[in-house]
Amino acid sequence: DAGITQSPRHKVTETGTPVTLRCHQTENHRYMYWYRQDPGHGLRLIHYSYGVKDTDKGEVSDGYSVSRSKTEDFLLTLESATSSQTSVYFCAISAAGGEETQYFGPGTRLLVL
């Protein structure tokens, strides 16, 4: 998985609680991404980062925030989890933005009850 770890790998939480997912990379890649994967929708971009403290929104960013204080770590936070955020979340990295291969982590399976 290209030196990418995600934690936790599985989480069950209740509606209204905050949740933070962590992505850690050992490749020193500049770009990091958070995607969600749902049946029938493929992978959809939530947020991405193009450097420490530099982040931007993707196509499904509502209800999510991110932070990147170190090159190797990218955090995804659900401030108040909802059932619609039940999904599998993948982190990806790339050496550069644009037309560069993105490599994916193993995923976090989140269930919001």
């Binding site: 998985d1 493929g42 992978l43 993707g58 196509e59 993948f90 037309e99 291969t101 193993p106 995923g107």
Partner: protein, 113 residues
């Protein structure tokens, strides 16, 4: 909006046969494409990529063909093996708005002995 679609949700092949997985994209300006393989419970794994200045690229047992005229690409797997059983995604790079990869929903490849 931009879209990437795979032609068949499921493809069944016999072990040893060649497999062909197809993908269509909507944005004629897309000029970078990636194929990913995703096994159950794992993150997408990079297989092969191709840029628009090429119409064919070969890897180990895999070939990607790109037809820009009809906005179609295909992944060919030679001598399909049981270990090839997985979901295969194509992704097209889209530079409008913010640079991003758009993913298809995936084709499940089932290899039978």
């Amino acid at each position: 909006g931009e879209s990437v679609g795979l032609h068949l949700p499921t493809l069944s092949v016999q072990e040893g046969d060649n497999s062909i997985i197809n993908c269509a994209y909507s944005n004629s300006a897309s000029d970078y494409f990636i194929w990913y393989k995703q096994e159950s419970g794992k993150g997408p794994q990079f297989i092969i990529d191709i840029r628009s200045n090429m119409d064919k690229r070969q890897g180990q047992r895999v070939t990607v063909l790109l037809n820009k005229t009809v906005k179609h690409l295909s992944l060919q797997i030679a001598a399909t093996q049981p270990g090839d059983s997985a979901v295969y995604f194509c992704a097209a790079f889209y530079s409008g708005g913010y640079n991003k990869l758009i993913f298809g929903a995936g084709t499940r490849l089932a290899v039978h002995p």
